[in-house]
Symmetry: C2
Subunit: 454 residues, 2 copies
């Protein structure tokens, strides 16, 4: 079901396209500027470059900057480049500093330099400051447009200050409080400000247990803090607790979406840049590196089975159960992997300790192994009519499931310990490892009990 | 790296635990109530039931309700049940209605009824209203504590109204505007209110293009709207556009986290309730249904290979390449699946059309298939020294990869069309289907060209 606010929007879209066609600049501006910037941005998705060039001449850099802020950052670069450079530089200067930085991080060094030259020095300096910060840290997602008040102000003074700052600030719903030396000492919500008496002091009503993050903090940690504490904004400080910027909840929602896509893509061994709108050639280029690695790992499995060619020659029916044993090992391994990766991400695991986690997974593997082992033994005996083969297949499933469960939980824990993102331990990767382990178990067992099979 | 606001927190934790031990109620209250509710909640994770019972007697239901709101909803039920029922009912009545409803949705019908009886009629009625709404819809996540103003009020009147409502409302940063018949006609931000002249009318400064959702809307769609438009709150209306409630950004962050976990878990075929903190028996119980289904699908693969026993008896070395062919088909299928599921979730795919998507994936499969097919043909010829076998394995990989890529993208598209959540087309499931397809291709080809192999 589509949200029911779509219909009036589509009507407005049509009017705007007609106005463009007839070059009615006033009609275009009145209809276009009524729309929410996100809807304005979606119009750009649907028109040709000629129309876009026309729109650039109809809108001021300031108006255009709001549209640009509602694009995905990867999609913006081609738009910026197709614009007149001076116009583009104006737009970048008008945007929230954090968004401008995100966009410019996609450009080559000389492009960045030329846009910075075309801006006023003040705005260029603000952007330059933020360009230093590493991607995916607090510094790279914070904005420097925030409101601070001094702790010795009265509520009346604070409100006056707030009113003058409101048009430029990214949010005014949290106001951060500093002392004379610009140290962050408290926070006060606009809600508290408007229900307080005008001649009280800011320091009387502020909360002095303010939660903050350091400028190098990882964005995933910040997302967790903002979600857990239900904050709308979070201050970012340097090592001396001077406030450098704030992170707002809208940026954090983008981070959450990005991190979720990221983890999901890694489990499937696709690059997070492998999006549905790529051309087949680009998509193949993104996927092939993974596939070729997995292909060579698969050849290792093949040459392993090759070593048991003698066994196979004598009892060809052994081959029949290779996929089910390898498959089951792969499946349990992926399950254990996913639970562990999520547990690390949500923090559940650090609470209870890693060794305890491994013990739990071993026991889980034992239970699922015994259950699946018994079922398959019965099925092979009844369906295929081989008693001993059934027992060997059942025993192999039991052992494979235990080992695969342990491997699936151990690998991400190890990676986490080594400060590698555990989500990189992708599904297909763990599956291939478990293929190899389970086949050694299966053919090993079968070779030992060969006498029973012939 | 841990966020650097942890240290003062840990100090406070210690003081609180000592105060509990010494039964110093005043010290406990002064330290505990200074903490953010999220930190208060984490103390409950660390103490025994006796200490918790002690805390319940130290805190009023109203104070306790704020702590409870910062728990995961699944973790709250045991706490509520261990409390004195009257105290628990008070807490549920004091909470935001939406959170109370989320908690009570985990209870049995007779438990819900008994808590409702212990509340004041007014609060019980509010909760009863929301309990009707289906899970994961706007109705189930909205709160009924919001502020509306009439469009004919002056800014001064609106601010007075706002100040009186502020303590109870979930947010006051967006104020929704209604006409005489309580229809939603506009929205106004607190930012606009405080920078406007006091004798202007609300209708003069409100935005009348207000985005809203209907009460039955899916929570995932709502999360996308709030993220795209950067809203802090979104109004929920009935079919006559009367405002029923609002959804705030903090609830949406929880929804995003839940949906992300959900999709991730489904790709790995684990239930989303399979969390790292379950006992091994419960974890096994959650995973076994999937494993047993996959086990029987695996037996289908086995019996398929069984049909080729003749072929296998003559050329046992064919068995060696079963895992690599099946594995590669599984891997490409999972990649195509993940890209398609994400594409549906982000809306990229509805834009470009499903047929176009399938064509693209087919071409991607062709490119990856040719590449991997050529590589493996070369490897088998050189490494294993079998020319014709190499060609048969290479050809099988080529065909399997094309079919697997199409299957991986077709299945979620089909499910989406049938209104089934496409994420249910889990990784192991598509992998097993692709196992079967690839093995038919491999043994079919090998049987046809048998003469070349012997």
């Amino acid at each position: 079901m589509e949200p029911n606010h779509e219909e009036p929007k589509l009507e407005a879209f049509d009017k705007i396209l007609v106005a463009l066609e007839n070059e009615q600049i006033d009609l275009f501006r009145s209809e276009f500027l009524e729309l929410h910037p996100y809807d304005q941005a979606s119009i750009f998705d649907e028109v040709t470059e000629d129309r876009r060039q026309q729109i650039y001449t109809y809108l001021s850099p300031q108006e255009m900057s709001e549209v640009i802020e509602h694009f995905d950052f990867e999609d913006v670069s081609p738009l910026i480049i197709e614009m007149n450079p001076t116009y583009a530089a104006h737009i970048l200067a008008e945007m929230s500093t954090d968004d401008a930085v995100d966009i410019m991080n996609n450009f080559e060094k000389d492009q960045v330099a030329s846009y910075l030259t075309l801006m006023h020095k003040e705005e260029a300096d603000e952007i330059k400051d933020l360009l230093h910060y590493e991607e995916k840290t607090a510094g790279s997602i914070m904005t420097t447009e925030f409101v601070v008040v001094n702790k010795n102000m009265t509520i009346r003074e604070a409100m006056v200050h707030l009113r003058t700052q409101a048009p430029d600030a990214e949010t005014i719903y949290y106001v951060f409080v500093v002392d004379e030396d610009k140290h962050l000492v408290g926070v006060i919500s606009l809600r508290d400000l408007i229900i307080s008496e005008e001649d009280w002091l800011v320091s009387d009503i502020m909360s002095d247990r303010v939660v903050y993050v350091s400028v190098g903090e990882d964005q995933e940690v910040i997302a967790k803090i903002m979600r857990d504490y239900d904050f709308l904004a979070l201050p970012v400080v340097d090592f001396k607790k001077h406030i450098l910027g704030i992170i707002t909840v809208d940026d954090i929602m983008d981070v959450m979406e990005e991190e979720a896509s990221d983890d999901y893509s890694k489990l499937a061994a696709v690059s997070d840049m492998d999006r549905a709108d790529l051309t087949p050639f680009d998509a193949a280029k993104k996927r092939l590196p993974w596939l070729i690695i997995l292909l060579f790992l698969g050849m290792v499995t093949a040459s392993l089975i090759g070593r048991f060619e003698n066994t196979l020659d004598q009892v060809a029916i052994l081959a029949v159960f290779i996929p089910v044993i390898a498959g089951m090992a792969g499946n349990t391994g992926t399950q254990a992997l996913a639970v562990t990766v999520r547990g690390i991400a949500t923090g559940d695991i650090s609470k209870e300790g890693k060794l305890k986690r491994l013990k739990k997974e071993t026991l889980t593997g034992l239970i699922t192994g015994i259950t699946c082992g018994l079922i398959i033994t019965g099925v092979v005996m009844l369906w295929f009519g081989h008693v001993y083969l059934g027992m060997i297949v059942g025993f192999s499933i039991l052992c494979s499931l235990i080992v695969a469960t342990i491997a699936g939980s151990f690998l991400p824990l190890l990676m986490h310990k080594m400060n590698i993102d555990p989500a990189v331990a992708s599904g297909p990767f763990i599956t291939t490892i478990n293929d190899i382990i389970s086949i050694i178990i299966y053919f090993g067992t079968a070779t030992i009990f060969m006498d029973l099979l012939i």
